[in-house]
C-alpha cells in the first residue's frame, strides 16, 4: 500500500528530499545477508510504497511539495532531477511568492483558506495515482510560519476530506536556544491543533539530532544537510518494508496502519519518538562488527535513560503503564535485508513519557511570553485572538497532565 508524503515549508521540503533520497539509495544498496529474491521483493515493496513509475523508468516520488516562497522547492526539484535516480512529479508542487513571515496566524488563517482548493487538488491527484492508498505522511516544522500554520490547516483539511485515511505528522522540534523568536507560540498553536486532527505525531528534536551528529558521527562542522540526513536515515528505517505478523514471507502491507495500531492505543497519547542505532561516521563502519544482543541492549538503555537483548529486555512490565500488557505494548518487526550501509540496525519507535519534558518547557516559555503580551499583535492582525492562544494552552496542559499521570 502506498503512502503519500506532503512536504510543507522550507524544513519539510528539505527533509522530504533527504527522505526520498535515503529510501531509494537504501533500496539500491547492498543487500547484506539476504537472498537475491528477497532483495527484489524488498525493492519492489519500497518502490510501491513511496514511488510511482514513469515510462522511462525513473521513479517519481509520491509527494506533494508546498511552500509559500519558491527558492527551496526549486532547489529540491533540481537536486532530485540531478541525481538521475528519481525525481519529483512535475505538477506536484504548490508555490507562492511571499512566504509566511514566521507567522502561524498568516499560514493558518490567510494562506490556508486562500490556497485550500489548489493544494487539496494536487493532493487528490497524487492519492488517485495510488492503487491502494495507506495514508499520509506530513513533514513540517513547528517553529516557522508555513510548516506550522499552513501545516496545521492542511492536516485539518485532510482529516475532513479523508477521514478514513491515516495521517502521521513528522514534526521538527526547533533548537531550544532559538531559530525563530516566536517559535514557542508557533509550536503550541501547531501542537494543539494537530492533536485534534492528526493520528500520530512523530517528533524529532533538532537538539537531539545535532548531538548525534556531533558525538556519534563525529562531524565537525554540522550543517542542516547533515542533520536532515540523519533524520532521513531514522525515518527510512521506520518505513522500509518489514515482514508482517502473519508470515515471514510477505512484506507488511499497511505500515502506517500497523504502526498506529500498536503505538497509539489511546487518542490522548499521540506523541511518538524514534531511536535508531547504529549511527556512525563512514570511517568507523569498516571497523565495526554488529551483534544483535549488543544493539538491542543499547536500544533498551536508550529507551530507559532517554539518551536515547534480547527482546526479553523490552517485555519488562515495569516499562509500560498498568493498563497495557507488555505483550500488546511491544512488537517486533523484522526483515532480513540490511538497511542503508549498516549490516545490522535496529530502530525503536516509542510512545512514552519522555517527550513530556520538552513539551512542558515549550509551554512554559510560551506562557511567560504570552503573559507579557509580546508579539500578540502580530497574530491578532490575522485573526488569531488571545482566546485561541488560551485554548491551545489548555489543550496542551491537558496532554502534559495525562502523560504525567501514567
Amino acid at each position: 500500500m502506498s503512502i503519500v508524503t506532503v512536504q510543507l515549508g522550507q524544513c519539510g521540503n528539505q527533509i522530504g528530499f533527504e527522505v526520498f533520497d535515503a529510501l531509494l539509495s537504501d533500496s539500491h544498496s547492498s543487500q547484506g545477508l539476504c537472498s537475491m529474491r528477497e532483495n527484489e521483493a524488498y525493492q519492489a515493496s519500497c518502490k510501491e510504497r513511496f514511488f510511482s513509475e514513469e515510462e522511462n523508468g525513473v521513479p517519481i516520488a509520491r509527494a506533494v511539495l508546498v511552500d509559500m516562497e519558491p527558492k527551496v522547492i526549486n532547489q529540491m526539484l533540481s537536486k532530485a532531477a540531478q541525481s538521475g535516480q528519481w525525481k519529483y512529479g512535475q505538477h506536484a508542487c504548490f508555490c507562492q511568492k511571499q512566504g509566511s513571515g514566521n507567522n502561524w496566524a498568516y499560514g493558518y488563517s490567510v494562506h490556508g483558506p486562500r490556497h485550500e482548493e489548489s493544494i487539496m487538488n494536487i493532493i487528490r491527484k497524487e492519492v488517485e495515482k495510488c492503487d491502494s492508498f495507506s495514508g499520509f505522511f506530513i513533514i513540517m516544522s513547528m517553529a516557522g510560519g508555513t510548516g506550522s500554520g499552513l501545516g496545521a490547516f492542511v492536516t485539518q483539511n485532510l482529516e475532513d476530506q479523508y477521514s478514513n485515511s491515516l495521517k502521521m505528522n513528522q514534526i521538527i522540534w526547533p533548537y531550544g536556544t532559538g531559530e525563530v523568536i516566536v517559535q514557542n507560540y508557533n509550536s503550541i498553536l501547531t501542537l494543539s491543533h494537530l492533536y485534534r486532527s492528526s493520528d500520530a505525531l512523530l517528533l524529532h528534536e533538532n537538539d537531539a539530532i545535532h548531538k548525534i551528529c556531533a558525538k556519534l558521527m563525529n562531524i565537525k562542522q554540522i550543517s542542516f544537510s547533515d542533520i536532515n540526513q540523519v533524520l532521513a536515515h531514522q525515518l527510512g528505517s521506520v518505513f522500509q518494508p518489514t515482514y508482517s505478523a502473519e508470515s515471514s514471507f510477505h512484506y507488511r502491507r499497511n505500515p502506517l496502519g500497523d504502526l498506529m495500531e500498536h503505538l497509539v492505543p489511546h487518542p490522548e497519547f499521540k506523541m511518538l519518538s524514534v531511536r535508531n542505532i547504529p549511527h556512525m561516521s563512514e570511517n568507523s563502519l569498516a571497523y565495526t562488527t554488529f551483534t544483535w544482543a549488543g544493539l538491542l541492549k543499547h536500544l533498551r538503555q536508550m529507551l530507559i535513560s532517554n539518551a536515547k537483548m534480547e527482546e526479553e529486555g523490552f517485555k519488562d512490565p515495569a516499562l509500560y503503564t498498568s493498563w497495557l500488557k507488555p505483550v500488546n505494548a511491544f512488537n517486533v518487526w523484522k526483515t532480513q535485508r540490511a538497511f542503508s550501509k549498516y549490516e545490522k540496525s535496529a530502530v525503536l519507535v516509542s510512545n512514552s513519557q519522555f517527550l513530556v519534558k520538552p513539551l512542558d518547557m515549550i509551554v512554559g516559555k510560551a506562557w511567560n511570553m504570552f503573559a507579557s503580551k509580546a508579539y500578540i499583535h502580530q497574530y491578532t492582525k490575522f485573526g488569531i485572538e488571545e482566546e485561541d492562544f488560551l485554548d491551545s494552552f489548555t489543550s496542551l496542559e491537558q496532554v502534559v497532565a495525562s502523560y504525567c499521570n501514567l
Binding site: G99, G101, N103, T177, C213, V363, M369, Y375, Q378, E397
Partner: protein, 424 residues
C-alpha cells in the same frame, strides 16, 4: 520571489542610494555569471529592452538586456540627482523615476513636509504606483533619508504618511542616513557615523558604503538560497514584540569600505564577537550593557548551523535578555557571501540602548525650543503650528518612558508565572 522598491529622498538619501545601487550591481554580477535575468536580480532590478518606446519594454526572462533600478529618486534641489545621472550609474535610472525641484528645503522640516509635500503629493503617489505596477509581487519599500536636513526629514516623513494611507498591507521599512533615526510604521534601522575609524578624503563615501551594505545584507537571504532562509516580513515579525517599539540597532561585520579589499580573513568566531562590541554598532550605543528584547543574526557565506549555535552559546551569558524572551534569537543562513568576503554577519537588535539616543535628541531639542530659537522659520510655513512641536515631544517622551519601564526589569530574577491547572 518578491520585489522591493528603494525610495531615496534628499541629498543624504540619494548619495546612500547611489552607493547601494553600485554595490547591488557588483553583487549580482559576481553571482550571476551567465547574464540571465533571474528571480534574485529581479528583486531590485527590471530588465528592459531600451529600444521599445514607452512602457512596454519590460522583459521578464532570458538574457539581461538593460537593467533598471526599482527606485524613485526625490530631491528638492537638482545637484545631487544630476550628478548621479551624469555618473557611471546613469543607465540604471529612468528619467521617469525622478522628482526634483530647484530651491531645496533650506534645512527646514516644515518646508519639506508641508510645502513640498502638498506640491508633489500627486506626483509622488503616481511614481509609487508605477513602480509597484512593474512588480510581480511587491513586498517592501525601502526609504532612505536623513533626519537632520529639510527634504529628507520633512518630505521623507510626508511620503511615508501618504504611503501608509494607501498601502497598509505592505511592510514598510525605513533605512536612515547619517544622523540617526527615522520614524516609521513597522520597524526602523538606525545608523550613524560612530562606526568609522579611518580618515578618508570623502568621509561620507565610506559611511554611505556601510549603510548600503547593510541594506544588501538585509535582503540577501530573501534573494539568494541558503539552508535557513529569512524573508523581510520575518524581520518585523520576530523583532517587533510591541508595535511602538519598532526601533532596531544594527551592526555589521566585517566592516569595510570599497578600498579595503585586502583585509585578512577574520576568524569566524571573531566575527560574531565583533558584532556585539560597541565599536561595530551603527548607532552610538552599547547593546551589551542594555536590555535585549530580541536579536536577529543574518549570516552569509560558508557558515553552518553548528558554527551559529556554538557562537550563540558562547555569547549568550554576556548579554541580557528581557525576562519573557530569554532565548530571543532569530537566525538565518544564506549561502552566498558578499563580494570580496568569505562570510559576513548582520546583527539586528531590538535593544533598550536606543534610549540614550532618544533622550539626547529630546534634550538638544528642548534646549532650542525653550529659547524659541529658529522657531519662526517653521511657524511661518502654512499649516505648521506649535502643536506640531509639542505633539512630537510628547510622543518621544512616551517612547522613552516605555524603554525606561523595560530597563527597570533588567536585573530582576526571572520568575516563571503560574500556569493553567487542569482538573483531571
Amino acid at each position: 520571489m518578491t520585489q522591493s522598491v528603494v525610495v531615496q529622498v534628499g541629498q543624504c538619501g540619494n548619495q546612500i542610494g547611489c552607493c547601494f545601487w553600485d554595490l547591488a550591481l557588483r553583487e549580482h554580477a559576481a553571482v550571476n555569471q551567465k547574464g540571465i535575468y533571474d528571480e534574485a536580480i529581479s528583486s531590485f532590478f527590471r530588465n528592459v529592452d531600451t529600444r521599445v518606446v514607452g512602457d512596454g519594454g519590460s522583459i521578464s526572462k532570458g538574457k539581461i538586456c538593460s537593467l533598471k533600478a526599482r527606485a524613485v529618486l526625490i530631491d528638492m534641489e537638482e545637484g545631487v540627482v544630476n550628478e548621479i545621472l551624469q555618473g557611471p550609474l546613469r543607465d540604471v535610472f529612468d528619467t521617469k523615476q525622478l522628482i526634483t525641484d530647484i530651491s531645496g528645503s533650506g534645512n527646514n522640516w516644515a518646508v519639506g513636509h508641508k510645502v513640498f509635500g502638498s506640491l508633489y503629493q500627486d506626483q509622488i503617489l503616481e511614481k509609487f504606483r508605477k513602480s509597484a505596477e512593474h512588480c510581480d509581487c511587491l513586498q517592501c519599500f525601502f526609504i532612505i533619508h536623513s533626519m537632520g536636513g529639510g527634504t529628507g526629514s520633512g518630505l521623507g516623513t510626508f511620503l511615508l504618511k501618504s504611503l501608509f494611507d494607501i498601502i497598509s498591507k505592505i511592510d514598510l521599512m525605513v533605512n536612515s542616513g547619517k544622523l540617526g533615526t527615522t520614524v516609521k510604521p513597522k520597524s526602523l534601522v538606525t545608523s550613524s557615523s560612530g562606526a568609522l575609524k579611518k580618515q578618508h578624503k570623502k568621509p561620507f563615501d565610506a559611511m554611505n558604503n556601510i549603510v548600503a551594505n547593510l541594506l544588501l545584507n538585509l535582503t540577501s537571504s530573501a534573494r539568494f538560497e541558503g539552508s535557513l532562509n529569512m524573508d523581510l516580513n520575518e524581520i518585523s515579525m520576530n523583532l517587533v514584540p510591541f508595535p511602538q517599539l519598532h526601533y532596531l540597532v544594527s551592526s555589521l561585520t566585517p566592516l569595510y569600505t570599497l578600498t579595503d579589499v585586502n583585509i585578512p580573513p577574520r576568524r569566524l568566531d571573531q566575527m560574531f564577537s565583533d558584532a556585539f562590541s560597541k565599536d561595530h554598532q551603527l548607532l552610538r550605543a552599547d547593546p551589551k550593557h542594555s536590555l535585549y528584547l530580541a536579536c536577529a543574526l543574518m549570516v552569509r557565506g560558508n557558515v553552518q548551523i553548528s558554527d551559529l549555535r556554538r557562537n550563540i552559546e558562547r555569547l549568550k551569558p554576556s548579554l541580557q535578555f528581557v525576562s519573557w524572551n530569554q532565548e530571543g534569537w532569530k537566525t538565518s543562513l544564506c549561502s552566498v557571501p558578499p563580494v570580496g568576503h568569505s562570510h559576513s554577519l548582520l546583527a539586528l537588535a531590538n535593544n533598550t540602548c536606543v534610549k540614550p539616543t532618544f533622550m539626547e535628541l529630546k534634550e538638544r531639542f528642548m534646549r532650542l525650543y525653550k529659547k524659541k530659537a529658529h522657531l519662526h522659520h517653521y511657524l511661518q510655513v502654512e499649516g505648521m503650528e506649535e502643536s506640531c512641536f509639542t505633539e512630537a515631544v510628547s510622543s518621544l517622551s512616551a517612547l522613552i518612558q516605555e524603554y525606561d519601564q523595560l530597563d527597570a526589569t533588567k536585573n530582576m530574577p526571572v520568575q516563571d508565572l503560574p500556569r493553567l491547572s487542569i482538573a483531571m
